[in-house]
Each structure stands twice: as C-alpha cells, then as structure tokens.
C-alpha cells in the first residue's frame, strides 16, 4: 500500500542529505570533541561548524547556540534555568494555556516549587495578544514563555509584539519555536527573544537532538551538571552525529523557505477547502490566516477522533487527533478546550500536518477517502442528528 504521511508535526523522516552528513560521525570521526588529538579536533571542528550554521539560520551568534537532547530539554532548561537563576528578582512567570506540555508541565512543576504562573487565555483562534501579556506583568515577573506556533492547531502568536513588551519591562522572554522552525522565518533579534527552543526531528533531522538559543548575558542555571561542554552550561559528551544532523536539517529547512511555505500552504488550503466542501458539520480549528503553512486541524462533529485515525490508517494515511483516546487521558486536548470547544467537539478533532515532501496526490487521496470514513462512523453514532 502507498503510505501517505500527514503527521509531520509529530515527527518527520530524516532527510537523505542529513543522514549522509551524520554517518561519518558515528564510527569514522568518533573522537570526543574535548580531546586534543586529531579525531577529537576533527569532532570539535564539526561541532563548531554546526553551531555556526544554526546561528546563521536564526540571526544569532555562534556562541549563543547550545545543543541539547531535543525540544523538551530546551524548554525545560530555559524555563527552570531562568526561574532558578532569577528567583532573587521575583517569582512570577507568564505563559499561555495552549503551550506544549514540555512548557506547561514545567511551569506546573515550578508552581510546586514556590513560583507563581499566569496562564493567559487565548481567543477562539488560539491567539494571545501583547496587551494581555503587558497587563499580566507585575514587578515580580521574571520570565515570559510563549510559543511561536501551536503544534496542534497551527496558530502563530505575535512573538515580535510580545518581544517588545518583554524588552520594555526588562523581562526575560523565551519562545518554543519547535513548530515554527522551517515553517516561518525565525529571527531571534527581530523577535526580541532571549531564549528559543528548537527540535531537529520536526524538520527532517534526527530524534533526540535540539537546540537552545541563549542570548549572550542571559543568566540560566544548568539543567545538566557535569563536564565543561557547551561553555560549561550543558554537560555531557556532545552527540556529534545528532548535532551535525541538526545543523544540516536547519540549513535545509531554512533554505528557500518562502517557496516551500508557499507550496505547502497551497496544499493545506486545498485540503481545508476540500474537507469543508465535502463533509458537513466540520469546523477548521485555529486561525484562518495566521497559521502554520502545513497545519490543517478540523473538528468533525458527532464522531470521535481515534476511530477516524484507525480508519485512515487502514487506508494508508497517517494523521493525528486531540481526542482523549489519543491523548492517553480522559480529557481531550487542552488546546482545543482553551479555544472554547465543548468536550464532544474536541473529541472529534483531526490534524493533518503537511511537509515539503507531501504531494497533491496525497491530499486528493485524503479527500477521496475521508468523507466515506466520516459517514461510516456517523452511521454508528448515537448523537448524529
């Protein structure tokens, strides 16, 4: 069966070019980047080249780039590190209700440790405003952490405006840009962020590899104590193959970004228009225009998400849902509840995430099979009117 992969917000396959760049660093250039002999020096060189590549892609300086084990570590490090290093100035953190769990659960952990956290509500499209952030700031506020783009509904947040508010109040600003990277231009200077999290596996890089941008002068406590790697701020022998793969993935993802985004958003719009046209009682979740080029998130009324996913899988199509059954809890996605969806509508959510490897035939196949799947499940539904 021809498999169609439309869950690129969950993860992506490693690109062939990325894998090629990584391979020598497993067994040929195996040295420890801290060693002084030839293979160690070669590893060090690759490490610093990777750092420069990532820095250039986001408008940062190479010494502001720190390699981590992924987006979750970057979020944890930024938030806990900034909170602990700055707790003398205050103990208040501002975030939103729709952050990734790597941010939300970290904030909830800090609440148990004596920090106060404001979870800003979002509007029906999933947007938070700079005015809301401004109004939430107190003399105790030490950190604002707001995602650049939401992973479930694809909504883009006004990061640049929030960055201005943060600068005016001299408050640290962190943004989780895991979904934004490679989808929209990311510029740490223009955005006014002090910290920014990235993940490699969302952009055709390897899993278990990520980046934290830490602006020079920003104080954060280390999350991982040990050796002097990463300028003494993140211990552990560098995952060189992963780092080289991350850099190549970042380079490829940010190359010809506008052209790729235009192609991807055209496919997204074809999918959205087709679904809305052929299936009654469907709503698009997220912002109509301010959204990731590759994200289409729907709520299909009267049925539940997992059933759709299983039937799509039987038709060779991989997608995801924010239903309770797929979240592993009894509640549907916190993001869908935060945009005001009733539980029963949130249970029927369906997310397709498109990449530059997606072709029009893939979208047309979804449009061909999805209406039948929805009908079959609705015929079984006791709440179908």
């Amino acid at each position: 069966m021809n498999r169609i992969y439309l869950d690129n917000a969950a993860t992506t396959p490693v690109a062939a070019e990325v894998l090629q760049k990584m391979l020598p660093y497993f067994s040929d250039v195996y040295g420890n980047a801290s060693s002084i002999y030839a293979t160690g020096r070669e590893a060090r060189k690759a490490l610093e080249n990777a750092r420069a590549t990532v820095a250039a892609a986001i408008g940062a300086k190479p010494n502001e780039i720190y390699f981590t084990a992924g987006g979750s570590e970057s979020d944890n490090w930024a938030i806990k590190g900034a909170a602990y290093a700055n707790s003398g100035k205050g103990k208040h953190i501002i975030t939103t209700a729709i952050e990734h769990h790597a941010v939300l659960n970290t904030c909830q952990y800090l609440e148990k440790k004596g920090f106060a956290v404001t979870y800003l509500p979002v509007d029906e499209f999933g947007r938070v405003t700079a005015e809301q952030v401004q109004a939430a700031i107190t003399p105790e506020t030490i950190l604002i952490t707001i995602m650049a783009a939401n992973n479930e509904i694809g909504t883009l947040e006004p990061i640049e405006e929030i960055g201005r508010v943060a600068r005016n109040h001299k408050t640290l600003f962190h943004s989780d840009a895991v979904q934004a990277m490679g989808a929209i231009p990311v510029d740490v200077v223009k955005w006014g962020v002090d910290m920014l999290s990235m993940s490699a596996h969302k952009i055709h890089g390897p899993k278990g590899a990520g980046v934290l941008y830490l602006k020079n002068g920003v104080r954060v406590d280390p999350l991982i104590h040990g050796g002097a790697q990463e300028r003494g701020r993140r211990a552990g022998t560098e995952n060189l193959a992963g780092i080289v793969g991350t850099a190549e993935a970042v380079r490829l993802a940010t190359k010809d970004l506008q052209e790729k985004a235009a192609k991807i958003s055209a496919l997204r719009d074809r999918l959205i228009a087709g679904v809305i046209k052929t299936i009654p009682d469907v709503r698009l979740n997220g912002h109509p225009t301010e959204r990731l080029p590759g994200n289409a998130n729907f709520s299909v009324k009267f049925i539940e998400g997992e059933g759709m996913l299983l039937r799509l899988d039987m038709a060779g199509i991989a997608a995801s849902s924010g239903s309770a059954c797929t979240s592993g809890s009894l509640d549907p996605s916190h993001v869908l509840l935060a945009i005001g969806l009733p539980h029963e509508i949130a249970h029927g959510s369906l997310r397709f995430s498109i990449s530059d490897k997606t072709v029009q035939e893939d979208i047309d196949e979804v449009l061909r099979v999805l209406p039948g799947i929805v009908n079959t499940l609705r015929d079984m539904s006791p709440i179908m009117a």
């Binding site: 009267f302 049925i303 539940e304 998400g305 997992e306 059933g307 299983l310 039937r311 039987m314 239903s323 309770a324 059954c325 592993g328 009894l330 549907p332 539980h343 029963e344 249970h347 015929d379 079984m380 539904s381 006791p382 709440i383």
Partner: protein, 125 residues
C-alpha cells in the same frame, strides 16, 4: 496496540443500528468523556432474539459494543445480565489498560437495556 480481534470488530462491527419498537433501550456514557453507547434489545420468551448498537467513541468502544452484542444474542435475560466487562475484554483478546473503561461501558449498556426491558415489563403487568 489493539489485538487483531479488536481491529476486526472495529472495522467490521456486528449488529450496528437501531431496533424499531425495541423491548429495551440502554444508553450509557456521555459525550464529555468521549464515549456514548446505546443498546437496543428485542426479547421473546425471556431470550434476547435481536440486539443492535450505536456508539460514539474510540476504536475500543466500537469493538466492545460489537463484541458484547454478539455475546448476548440468543442468550436468556439472566445469562445476559451475567455478562462482565472482563469477559468482553477477554473475548477481544485483551484491551490496552487505558481502554478497559470501554469494556465497562459495554457491560453497562447491555445491563441498562435489560433493566429498561424489565421496567417496561413491570409497567405492562
């Protein structure tokens, strides 16, 4: 994550639909939790001669609905009342831990339909 039997009952559910003039109807669960099961039974001489279901819910909810209808069809009221969620799950070659509550709903839906039938019988007397 699902057994072949669960996938079979999910993709080809048995006894989907409604029964007109059903002798008993049971509805359990709610949309807020993401699962609703509605069972319809036809009873003749204390035997369940027909059973149909409609379910809003995940793959396991649909599979357990389907399996439980097969398990009570042709059974006496007493036999059907003895149906347990454990028996439904076992007949499906097991369910993932977080889906056990679906098999409980199936048991509850069958029992609710039987209770409804009994109530109607009493009212008829």
């Amino acid at each position: 994550m699902y057994s072949d039997k669960v996938m079979d009952h999910f993709s080809n559910p048995r006894n989907v639909g409604e029964i007109e003039n059903a002798d008993g109807i049971g509805m359990v669960g709610n949309a807020k939790c993401g699962d609703i099961m509605k069972m319809f039974i036809k009873v003749e001489k204390n035997v369940i001669t027909d059973v149909k279901f409609k379910t809003f819910g995940c793959g396991a909810a649909i599979a357990t609905s389907s399996m439980s209808t097969e398990m009570v069809k042709g059974k006496t009221i007493e036999e059907a009342m003895a149906l347990t969620n454990k028996a439904v799950a076992e007949a499906l070659d097991g369910l993932p831990t977080q889906k056990i509550h679906c098999s409980m709903l199936a048991e509850e839906a069958i029992h609710a339909a039987i209770e409804d039938y009994k109530k109607k019988q009493q009212q008829g007397d």
